[in-house]
């Protein structure tokens, strides 16, 4: 398994949307992908086309019960890991158990939605991950949080995805330029603000089905390409 932990240092950065769309982009590029929800909000299923009320399985609490094997869009495997599991497992043990339970092959890429850092499972997930992605909106608050981003990425392989960039606004353009300048190599990609992302969610369609030619779709594809190349680097370094 290739493990990728996705988190953020500010609220509302769009971690879940990023995981869902990256997973779909990777799946379209014919990679085996599992999206694992470690976020207490448990919204990943929704982003991948599963409705909570329709699928009791997804949220039904059992002893460390990942969602019943449910395939959302195309060939993205999604598992929701009920954090409030009454089994009493916590932290590292919970993450390990969840990953084991996936029974994914060596080639599978597991994208872990860790929610906003620090979440109950974000530290252990990041400790296990081959790559850590941080989602950052191009806003002043996010720029101010850059030192934290750096400290989180320190000693880890990873990158930053700037989400909802809007070049039509001067301030957003300038912050984006600052981020790009300061992040330099750490930047994995920039995803533009695109109405199609939330509209696709509302229609329970994948972004690609909803809008084949949108800017955000293209951006996620580029991010996925960069993610793959960094995973290859990580693997090469490990050997």
């Amino acid at each position: 398994m290739k493990l990728v932990a996705v988190t953020a240092v500010t609220g509302g950065a769009g971690v879940t949307a990023t995981v869902a769309n990256l997973a779909q982009a990777l799946a379209r590029a014919r990679h085996q992908v599992v999206a694992l929800d470690l976020d207490p909000c448990e919204a990943l299923g929704l982003h991948l086309g599963l409705l909570p009320e329709a699928d009791d399985d997804v949220v039904a609490p059992r002893r460390l019960r990942p969602a019943a094997q449910r395939w959302g869009h195309e060939n993205v495997g999604v598992r929701a890991c009920a954090v409030a599991a009454e089994a009493g497992l916590k932290g590292e043990a919970l993450v390990s158990a969840a990953l084991e339970d996936l029974e994914a092959g060596d080639e599978a890429i597991v994208l872990m939605d860790c929610g906003r850092w620090p979440a109950p499972l974000s530290e252990p997930a990041m400790a296990r991950a081959d790559l850590c992605l941080l989602v950052l909106p191009p806003e002043v608050g996010a720029y101010a949080a850059l030192p934290r981003v750096r400290s989180l990425l320190k000693g880890r392989r990873g990158g930053v995805v700037v989400n909802r960039a809007d070049p039509s606004r001067t301030l957003a353009r300038d912050v984006l330029a600052l981020l790009e300048h300061d992040l330099d190599d750490a930047l994995l990609g920039v995803v533009h603000a695109d109405l199609a992302v939330s509209e696709a969610l509302a229609r329970r369609q994948t972004l690609a089905d909803y809008d084949r030619y949108g800017q955000a779709l293209r951006d996620y594809e580029l991010c996925a390409q960069n993610l793959l190349s960094r995973l290859r680097d990580a693997e090469a370094a490990r050997r």
Binding site: P167, S168, R173, H192, D194, L195, R212, Y213, Q215
Partner: protein, 713 residues
């Protein structure tokens, strides 16, 4: 020892040259009878045909050598064998033709010399440390050009990739316009006016030179938009060669000049400028004789000050300034990469006016500062300048060639005193070799016969100014060329076309007379009649094409589109986006190719994202055309920052012009001949239609006159 080896080498080199000269002279002067001459010509031509297909520079050089030998032999024969006329009329007309031929021969040989080995100079990298880069002043002189044209140039100059503390931009406004001053303030560039307008552009530049301090001066005519890479591509050579006084880059035009538009050759056949900037300047560069062309060039302040600023004595201040630098031992350089582009002159009359100015200026330099005399020039430099100046005297010789066969057909004058077969045996090889060699050497930059067309269009107009300037260089006025207008209706420019309409009529009459003489004449001289008929026919073809050039085609689109394919994103109302590709751009417009149809409608307000240096800006635009997946956007009401961004993403791109420039397919003599035939036929057809319409209008006016009263204004 070394001395002795050196002497030996010198002796052997001299001997080699001596032998070569002797062989050359022998071939040129050896008398041959008709059969031998034919055999010799055939042999030479076969060798030339073989060489024509071979790639590389050596075959081209050998072709030139062959052509010089064959043409020299022809000229020797012409001078020694064909001038024994008894009739005074024959002698007078014959001498005229001979002089014209000598002119053509000299320019042919000088032309070969000029392009012996085009240097193909590449840009030199600048120092790694930006602090070692010199300071540059960018001058944008303007007089009466529209602000909409000039602002593009100014904003593009601001986008030049150069350290900001070492780059200052100066608009030199001889028109003293308030709107220019306001724009310059807003854009943050220097605005200069001076007390008077003495010496026009040269004076304008000199006035600005006195007020600035930069190490180097880059000059752009107000309608020549530089690419961002201009300075980085050019200044490296100045740092490497401290004696470098001037570096020129090509003048590239993204709109069709009037000849190209009327002949329908834009983008298909190289225009006049392409030969000069593609080949001649590159050839001059080898001889350290690159000319300054007034724009798209960098000059060193030191060299400019050494020659007393931009020359003011002649109307072609640019060429004269470079000549003065050469005399003082400064070098010049040429880089054949288009790093700026502009609009070509709009109407034929403006085009002709511009050429007249160049011709006058060159004639003035020849008189006031003759490059063949005076100090400081090397022999190749003198030859290169001489060729450039002689070039503009083609007016009279061209008219002579266009009328020569008529002397025999109308007046029965024998202007070449030789049997027709001998003329054919000597003259045809001379012409064919010249055609073939030029086609091989100039192929990518000029196609066969087009030179004749261009010269025929201009011959009459250029004749008088050059002769006047030659005899009294101070007379005549400076005229500025107007650019960027519209031609709203197709029309026939009779006032411009009159000289060659007359020539055409004469040649057509000559053709008729010739045919009559052939069939109903007293016999005899059949070969001579055929020879002159052939010549007349050729003249008619060339004049037909010249006439086509004078029928002005309608030109409605104000902005000229330039191809550009880069990624962009379209944002429609409501925030949805669409990734797409650009197709072309123009001043204030952009063409997009969308991935699917029916996305937008005409009149929609949209935004388009353009990326530059991995940064983006969204620009508001209106959809003006929709054709399936292709849409056209028009930008209006952009802020200055947005406008600058648009220019930086379009006109300023380093590779904006490289794909169109000098990329013509090579010349193929037969195809060129067929093309010129078709253009000529079109010209004659248009002329016929125009004459018919004109006739009908006159007849109609006469017949209707008694019936109706004239309309009251």
């Amino acid at each position: 020892m070394r001395d002795r080896a050196d002497i030996a080498r010198r002796i052997s080199t001299s001997l080699g040259w001596l032998l070569l000269t002797a062989a050359f002279l022998t071939i040129v002067v050896v008398p041959l009878d008709l059969q031998q001459q034919l055999l010799f010509s055939l042999g030479c031509f076969l060798i030339a045909l073989l060489l024509f297909r071979r790639k590389g520079r050596l075959p081209a050089l050998m072709l030139m050598a062959l052509s010089v030998v064959v043409s020299s032999r022809y000229m020797y024969w012409r001078l020694t064998e064909t001038m024994h006329m008894a009739q005074p009329l024959d002698l007078i007309l014959g001498t005229g033709l001979l002089l014209a031929e000598i002119y053509a021969f000299v320019t042919l040989v000088l032309g070969y010399f000029q392009v012996l080995w085009p240097l193909g100079r590449k840009p030199l990298p600048l120092p790694d440390d930006v602090r070692d880069w010199p300071s540059v002043d960018v001058f944008i002189p303007t007089y009466d050009e529209d602000l909409s044209i000039v602002r593009t140039t100014v904003l593009a100059a601001q986008a030049l990739d150069w350290p900001a503390d070492r780059l200052s931009i100066h608009v030199l406004d001889d028109g003293r316009r308030q709107e220019f001053r306001r724009f310059c303030e807003e854009a943050g560039v220097h605005y200069h006016v001076r007390a008077d307008n003495r010496h026009a552009k040269a004076g304008n530049l000199n006035a600005a030179l006195a007020r600035t301090q930069g190490d180097y001066v880059a000059i752009f005519d107000s309608d020549h938009v530089p690419t961002r890479s201009f300075l980085q591509m050019t200044l490296g050579w100045f740092l490497a060669d401290p004696k470098l006084g001037m570096l020129q880059t090509p003048h590239h035009f993204f709109s069709a000049d009037p000849l190209e538009r009327n002949l329908g050759t834009f983008g298909k056949v190289p225009n006049e400028g392409e030969l000069f900037y593609g080949l001649l300047q590159d050839g001059n560069d080898l001889w350290n004789a690159t000319f300054f062309c007034g724009s798209c060039a960098v000059l060193s302040r030191k060299a400019l000050e050494a020659v007393g600023g931009v020359a003011v004595e002649t109307v072609t201040e640019d060429a004269h300034t470079a000549l003065k630098m050469h005399r003082l031992g400064y070098t010049t350089a040429y880089i054949a990469i288009p790093q700026a582009a502009g609009l070509a002159t709009e109407s034929l009359s403006a085009h002709v006016g511009q050429r007249i100015r160049w011709a006058r200026g060159m004639a003035q330099i020849l008189r006031t500062d003759n490059p063949f005399s005076g100090k400081g020039l090397t022999l190749p430099q003198r030859l290169a300048y001489l060729n450039a100046m002689l070039h503009f005297f083609y007016g009279l010789p061209r008219l002579v060639f266009l009328t020569s066969p008529l002397a025999f057909l109308f007046l029965d004058a024998h202007i070449i005193f030789a049997p027709a077969v001998m003329i054919a045996a000597f003259a045809l090889p001379h012409l064919l070799h010249a055609f073939l060699t030029n086609s091989r050497v100039q192929g990518r930059f000029r196609h066969l016969f087009w030179n004749e067309v261009y010269e025929s269009v201009l011959a009459w107009y250029i004749l008088r100014p050059t002769l006047v300037a030659l005899f009294s260089p101070k007379r005549g006025k400076f005229n500025v060329t107007a650019k960027g207008g519209l031609i709203e209706q197709s029309y026939f420019d009779t006032s411009i076309a009159k000289p060659y309409l007359i020539l055409l009529a004469l040649n057509l009459a000559g053709l008729v007379v010739g045919v009559v003489r052939l069939y109903w004449g007293q016999g005899g001289e059949i070969a001579t009649i055929w020879l002159n008929l052939g010549w007349t026919f050729y003249n008619i073809v060339i004049l037909g094409a010249a006439v086509a050039a004078a029928s002005e085609r309608r030109q409605l689109r104000k902005a000229h589109r330039v191809k550009m394919s880069v990624p962009a994103a379209l944002y429609c109302a409501g925030g949805r986006s669409m990734v797409c590709q650009t197709r072309d751009f123009s001043t204030g417009g952009l063409g997009l190719e969308l991935p699917r149809e029916e996305v937008v409608q005409v009149g929609d307000s949209v935004e388009v994202t353009l990326t530059r240096d991995a940064r983006e800006m969204r620009l508001p635009a209106t959809v003006v055309t929709v054709r399936e997946r292709r849409i056209g956007l028009s930008f209006e009401g952009l802020t200055l920052a947005q406008e600058a961004w648009l220019i930086a993403c379009t006109f300023s791109r380093a590779d904006a012009w490289t794909q169109d420039w000098g990329r013509h397919p090579g010349d193929a003599p037969v195809r060129a001949l067929l093309h010129i035939y078709s253009v000529s036929l079109i010209g004659l057809y248009r002329l016929g239609r125009y004459l018919r319409r004109d006739l009908r209008r006159r007849v109609g006016r006469q017949s209707s006159k008694p019936a109706t009263s004239p309309p009251t204004p």
